[in-house]
């Protein structure tokens, strides 16, 4: 019977210089950071949604915009805007797939389309605000409506800034099949913003 010498003790130096540092395996560190950040954003919107449902549950009369403004309607604005934003998630993803193949041109084009759709969404929402006929100070409905859609809009704006940077960098040909972590990160964020809108749309316009 042999007793093994504790091999762990046999080398003075374990890791050398080159081994200390980022782990190469698994998800790239910036994407881990982006996922964590998105997790915190989920909780942020979770807080606002909780406020919405709390107000709705406790509301004495008919839940909706205060008269004389009329109830929220999907048409002609909200539903098309939803389609625009959902479509932009697809175009974003086409861009990601393109650069994974190394197709810089397609990435550039899809990013431009995505940005355009994002800006359309923002413009449409501002227009919607201008004709809704109630404001943030008009009862608790006005408050939760503008807070939720406003913060979502701010996130779309943040995403649009990210897309603009991506576009500028892709025009300069800075991305390749191996090196495009920024594209992946922005697309994650963009999908997240899209999902929040779907939840918002369902809450405001479908559940009513």
């Amino acid at each position: 019977m042999t007793v093994d010498a504790p091999t762990s003790m046999s080398a003075d130096i374990g890791a050398s210089h080159a081994e200390i540092g980022h782990r190469e395996a698994g998800m790239p560190t910036p994407l881990v950071g982006m996922l964590l950040f998105i997790a915190s954003e989920v909780m942020f919107f979770g807080g606002l949604f909780a406020a919405y449902f709390n107000a709705r549950a406790a509301f004495p009369g008919e839940w909706g915009p205060p008269p004389p403004a009329h109830a929220l309607e999907m048409l002609p604005i909200a539903l098309p805007l939803t389609l625009v934003l959902v479509a932009s998630s697809f175009t974003m993803q086409f861009g990601v797939w393109a650069i994974r193949r190394g197709d810089q041109r397609a990435l550039r084009n899809w990013t431009a389309v995505t940005l355009l759709l994002g800006v359309m969404f923002l413009a449409g929402q501002l227009y919607d605000y201008s004709i809704l006929g109630f404001g943030i100070g008009d009862g608790v409905f006005g408050t939760v409506f503008y807070t939720l859609t406003g913060f979502h809009g701010a996130h779309v704006f943040g995403g649009a800034v990210g897309l603009t940077i991506l576009l500028a960098r892709s025009v300069q040909g800075q991305f390749s099949a191996r090196n495009h972590v920024a594209v992946e990160a922005v697309s994650m964020y963009w999908h997240f913003v899209d999902v929040v809108w779907i939840a918002l749309f369902t809450t405001l316009y479908i559940l009513g």
Partner: protein, 554 residues
Amino acid sequence: MATTTLAPRAGTWRQSWVIDWLTTVDHKKIGILYIVNSFLFFFAAGVLALVIRSELMVPGLQFVDEATYNQAFTMHGTIMIFLFVVPVLSGFANYVVPLQLGAPDMAFPRINALSFWLLPLGGILIFSGYLFGGAAAEGWTMYAPLSNARYAEGPGTDLWLIGLTLVGTASILGAVNIIATVFKMRAPGMTLFRMPIFVWTVLATATLILLATPVLTAGLIALFIDRNYGGAFFEPSAGGNPILWQHIFWFFGHPEVYIVILPAMGVVSEILPVFSRKPLFGYRAFVFATIGIMLLSFSVWAHHMFTTGQVFLLFFAFMTALIGVPTGVKMFNWMATLWRGSLEFTTPMLFALGFITMFLIGGISGVMLASPPVDFHLQDTYFVVAHLHYVFFGGSVFGVFAATYFWFPKMTGRRLNERLGKVHFWIHFIGFNLAFFPMHPLGISGMPRRVADYSPDAGFTLWNIVSTVGAFMIAISVLPFLVNLVATLINGERVGDDPWEANTLEWATTSPPPPYNFDRLPPIRSERPVFDLRHKHDAEHMAAERRAPEEGTA
């Protein structure tokens, strides 16, 4: 992924050391900035505490009027929690976690710098209310409807909201950084279950920050909208609900108390094994208890709201009792670690033992408050103030001092004077108990918190005098600490890389560590790599002895 180069950045021009500190992205310097900044806020909030205690020493209003008093306890609580305890522990996490993992830096060094610099900015905004007609004065919990635009006039409360939003954002970014560091930056061999307990507790804390703080941010913004844009979140007359604020605040606020206690528990769990010369008893049990606390802490928030009559008492009382269990497990871990150890009563060890005893008292008063009938009687009395100081101050802040004495030699290469350290500890410990123990009987006999005065006939006077004397003792105990810091920095004993003969990786590099931390790493085969390295020869010797008879028979 670019591999981080280990060569120090070669500067083309000589930077002054001020610019160097202002622009640093080195986790060690940022950690020290966090710690220094937090201690400055600690002293500011401590001065406010002395104002409070001076006013309360005897009946009648002697020093400040009611409005000033309200501002004083609000700022005191806010600053102590958001700008002292949370960030000082983040500072130690920043300094120690990459070292303990064998990493050259945090995962995102520049975001790390950003999350530090938001803190002084937020703190100054919160304090600046004093310049604009009075700071926020509605208590650190900022309950609606007290905090609405009618009852809380003036910009003080708005500045509080904005400042706290920045501070919250800072800690969210810090949490992202810590979690990414733990998952992506560990040295080869550093598996999750070989990570030091401090790293585990910081990881759990970062998770809590990541998931709880954004909810507070949402609440802060909602309150800001109510106050400034005619919003109605918490405004019953327009369909809002003031209790919603309490739900939001405590959904964040209860995880928050674990945010400030878990890293302190981690500190203690690093220190006890070193000065007991034993491994931590039940490493895995401790890790699972930490994770248990982390998960349960999201389900107990409404025990702060028993008296609102709007929460399901049985559920929240039960969950609160349940969260006591993993905490109890940790108590047993610590006791068993001490049991039959060869104890060395160094200053960090004294503060760690102080933590255990004081936190135990705070835990017991907490379990009492967890019972709704008892809470109905004690809510908003000094009993709660006693409880929260035993856990925050006796718990977290003792942990902070333990960490300071323990890691100071790593940060500077010099050990704080042990004699002055012990003087600090004992005055601090006795002062602490004089200041806060009397608040238990005061609360039971009904003295309300957040009130500047009390009746001379109420029978509160004697205990209040004792408490104020204790508060001044705490203040005095800071003097030997400060003298010690300055004297040691100028002329302290140089003690080498591993003065405590400790266990974890931060002691494997020089004191202070070089940029990017390690020139070489010892092999990591357990949660005590430095211990293994130190006893390598013993181990080889033992192995050789065991092998010898076999060789003889061969």
